[in-house]
Each structure stands twice: as C-alpha cells, then as structure tokens.
C-alpha cells in the first residue's frame, strides 16, 4: 500500500549487475540480498510446514488463499474495465468525458483506501443498488469488497492507461497524421499498440498492489487470509505463529505473481528482443 511499492519486485534486476566499476570482484556484484531474502523465506517456510504450532496456523489460514486469489482476480477484472473507460476518458477529446474521468481519479487519490472501502461498501453500494433493482440483500459483502477495490484501483489504472498513451512519443502521432492517417486511425494503428507495452509493467505493479490490498477486505469480514489469521489469533492466541505464517504466505504469493507477470510481459514484448 505504500507509495513506492509501485516499483515492486523487478525479477530481471536479479540478473544484470548494477552499474559498477568493472574491476569489482564477483562477490561484490553478487545479489546477496536475493540469497538473504530467500533464506528468510525458507526459514519462514520451514516453520510454516514443519513446526506444529505454525503448521496449525497454516492449516487454518490455507482455505483463505483461494478467497484472496478469487477476490483479487475479480477486482482486477473490474478495475481494468473501469480503468480503461476512465483512462480513455482522460485523453478523450470530449471535455465532459475528460473532466468526469479526472474528477473520479482525483477523488480516489484524495482518500485512503480503507475509508474508501467503507464509503463504497456502506454508502455508495446501498445508494446505487436500488437503481439497478437490487436490494441490499442481493449484494454480498464479497461483492461489496470487490466493488470497493475495483473502484479504487480503477482510478489508479485509469492513470496508468493515460500515462501509457501519453508516453508514446508525440512524434508518433505527428508522423501518422503527416501520412494522412486520421486521429482515430493513428490512435488505433500507431499509438495503442505501443501504449499497451508501456502499460504492462505498471499494470503488473497494480495487480500485485491489489493482491496486497485485498488484505483490507478482512475489515469487511471476507474470509481471505488476513481475516482468517485474525480469527485464528482469536482462538489460538498465537500471534507470532499466525503472523509469521501470514507474512510467509503473502510473500510467496507476491513473488509467484511477480514471476508470472514478468513472464507474461516478456512474452508480450517478445518481438522487441534482439534489439540493437
């Protein structure tokens, strides 16, 4: 949830050495930090699986992994939809769309996620639901939580989309227009294909950030891993065991997701390989 977390793990950094005097010995450039972090993870993992009190916590928390994953996936799907709409709104030539999108984005930025989740779950959803012929009862707390996360991240993703489009050099639009392509044609054939690649790394970061922020849904009593941990502490009185296991679970999930997203990114930009 921290500001700079948006630079989440960059797996590829592990490989190329940082820029240094090239006479430094190998052990100076070696990514010991990866080894140390790995050691911490392995240690936590050892406790989790092989020490009974920790393992009990693990068995209690485990079913929440599915909830965490499912909730994150749905929320990401919806936030992508919202983010695409608002993101295109941000760069639209229609001033109404542009200003509405911006208002939404800036509102989201001005309020912390947790109060925003409460606001969405307890104010927005009950207000909006009847418009769609739904009653409060039709909307489970899971969907409220998903709606909350999706609306919050929709705002962030809108900015990513806008940034992706605007980061394509201005010269590309000019080159397209100079060839006689219309604004829309240039957008579709020239700008968007490039924007998509620019957008993948920050989107991956938002995905990971969302996986992490799904922990806030514990406040809505959604039985994801943080909530189950709280419940387990409540009956076991073993906060140390429980939170070590919880930390381990998150770090492994974040690492796994980073790896998957990194692969996906590489695959998406495969024809960039062999650059000069």
């Amino acid at each position: 949830m921290g500001a700079t977390q948006h630079e989440v793990w960059n797996i590829s950094e592990i490989l190329p050495p940082e820029e240094r005097d090239d006479l430094d010995p190998w052990w100076d450039r070696f990514p010991w930090w990866a080894v140390m972090l790995g050691a911490v993870i392995v240690l936590f993992g050892y406790y989790t699986f092989f020490v009974e009190s920790y393992n009990n916590a693990w068995r209690f928390i485990k079913p929440g992994i599915k909830v965490t994953v499912v909730v994150t996936l749905w929320a990401f799907l919806f936030s992508m939809i919202i983010g695409l709409i608002a993101g295109f709104g941000r760069v639209s030539r229609n001033p109404l769309l542009r200003n509405l999108s911006r208002t939404y984005v800036e509102f989201i930025r001005g309020v912390p996620t947790l109060p925003l989740l409460f606001f969405i779950a307890f104010v927005i959803v009950p207000t909006v639901a009847p418009w769609f012929g739904l009653t409060n009862k039709n909307i489970s707390k899971e969907w409220r939580g998903i709606a909350g996360l999706a609306l919050v991240y929709g705002g962030y993703i809108a900015e990513v989309i806008r940034g992706g489009i605007q980061s394509v050099e201005h010269g590309q639009m000019e080159a397209g227009r100079s060839l006689g392509l219309s604004y829309g044609s240039t957008m579709r054939s020239v700008i968007l294909p490039q924007a998509i690649r620019n957008v993948l790394p920050p989107l991956a970061n938002d995905f990971i950030a969302m996986l992490k922020d799904s922990s806030l849904l514990s406040l809505l009593a959604i039985n994801e891993i943080t909530q189950l941990s709280k419940l387990y502490v409540n009956v076991s009185f073993q906060p140390r065991e429980t939170y070590v296991v919880l930390t381990f679970t998150y770090i492994v999930m974040v690492l796994a997701l980073s790896l998957v997203l990194h692969r996906f990114e590489r695959w998406m930009s495969r024809d960039r390989a062999g650059a000069r």
């Binding site: 050099e169 010269g171 590309q172 000019e174 080159a175 397209g176 227009r177 100079s178 060839l179 006689g180 392509l181 219309s182 044609s185 054939s189 020239v190 294909p193 490039q194 690649r197 024809d271 960039r272 062999g274 650059a275 000069r276």
Partner: protein, 243 residues
C-alpha cells in the same frame, strides 16, 4: 505555378511566444527550397504550418488549390500529397520496415496488401535498402531509419516533400547516405522544402535558399549568391559563425 503558398502567416504559441511574424512564401512545382537560420528562428514552425501540424494563428496557407487554413478542409487528404520527414525519423517501432511503409497506403489510399507491399518494395529500392523490408526499425542504423522514413512518405506518391533537419540526428558517416537519397529525389524533379544546416547540399541542390531569423524571412535568393555575398547583416553574422 506555385504548388504551396503562405501569406501573412503569424504563429503564436500560447500568448507569449511569437514564433512566426508574417511569412509570405511561394514554392513552385519542381522547385527545391532550402531554409536556414539560427536555432529558434521558426524554420520548423514554417514547415509545420505548411501541413497544418501547427495551425497558423492568422494568415492563409494554400496547397494544390485547397486553402488549408479554412475550417472544414480535408486536411488528411492534403497531407497525403505532402510527405514530411522529421529530424527524429519517427518510424513506428512496433512495425517492420515493410509495415511502416504499407500502413498509410492501406488505411488511407485503400490499396490491397499486395499493391502496398509492391509499392513498399519499390520505394525501399529507391532509397537503397530493399533488403530491409522485414527488419524492425531498431535493427537499422540511424541513416537507414531515415531512409525508410523517406520511403514511407514517397509511397504515398506525394506532390511535394518537407524535410525538417533530416540529417542532424545522424553520425557524420550516415549523413551522406541520406543526402544522396535526397539529391536523387531532386534530380527526379520532386518539389522539396528542406530545413538543413548542410550547406553543401544547399549549394548542390537548392533553387532558392531562404534565411530566417526571429520568425521572419530576412533574405532569400540563389544559394551561391546568398552564401558568398549576403546583403543582410544578420545573414552575414550567421554565415561568419557557421561556414
């Protein structure tokens, strides 16, 4: 007969920068005009006002019978008749060289894939790199990239070409290969407006050299005449510095 003419063109950026202060300029069909002048004098802006990448604040631009400064004119159509080559190439990096050259042909000219590919092959041959048709821009040197950019414009079979410092982002070795392609276009009779610092090219190719300063045309004439005996003080000053 003039193919493009600007009259009384002023350009303000926001309310503070008066980039063009009354430009009157005609270019005849088949003519090669070179524009020179110090940095910030408005050379690029003149070029960009010709194809409406920048709208003149006041004044008119007429091209091939169309008044481009009128609202509602089909500027996309006019632009297909007016190729533009930029300092920074602006190739589309996600497309191969062939796709770069084919894109506008297909979307704007509505040519079939085969026609477009054929034309791409021809134009790439014209700029001397037919073998690069399936390479990506990043796999080419700067000089090759600029030649592809020229081929991309030529594939639309424009009536005139605009060049904005086409060689100034290039290493010295590559400058010549691009200038050679441009000289070749001159011999083919292409109408061209070229902003450049390459005086050799100006002498060899230009029918007319225009010297700009502070958003105005200060002096113009035959290249040899202008370079060897400039009349205006600012022109003299500039040549003293760069020749």
């Amino acid at each position: 007969m003039s193919i493009i003419s600007m009259s009384g063109v002023h350009k303000w950026f926001s309310t503070t920068v008066h980039a063009l202060r009354g430009i009157d300029l005609e270019v005849a069909t088949g003519e090669v005009v070179v524009i020179i002048g110090p940095s910030g004098s408005g050379k690029s802006t003149v070029l960009r006002c010709m194809n409406m990448l920048e709208r003149p604040t006041t004044g008119t631009v007429t091209f091939d019978g169309m008044t481009l400064t009128d609202k509602g004119v089909d500027i996309d159509h006019a632009r297909t008749e007016m190729g533009m080559v930029f300092q920074s190439f602006n190739l589309f990096p996600h497309l191969t060289v062939g796709q770069n050259v084919m894109l506008a042909q297909r979307k704007v000219r509505g040519r079939s894939k085969d026609e477009a590919r054929n034309m791409a092959g021809q134009q790439l041959a014209r700029v001397g790199i037919p073998e690069k048709i399936d390479a990506y821009p990043r796999q080419l040197s700067g000089g090759q990239q600029q030649r592809v950019a020229i081929a991309r414009s030529l594939a639309m079979e424009p009536k005139m070409m605009l060049f904005d410092e086409p060689t100034s982002a290039l290493d010295p070795e590559m400058i010549k290969e691009v200038l050679d392609v441009m000289l070749h276009l001159v011999t083919e009779g292409m109408t061209m407006v070229v902003v450049t610092h390459e005086m050799g090219f100006a002498r060899a190719a230009a029918d007319r050299v225009i010297f700009m300063d502070e958003g105005m045309i200060v002096e113009q004439g035959d290249p040899d005449e202008l370079f060897d005996s400039p009349r205006n003080d600012r022109t003299k000053d500039f040549f003293d510095k760069i020749l």
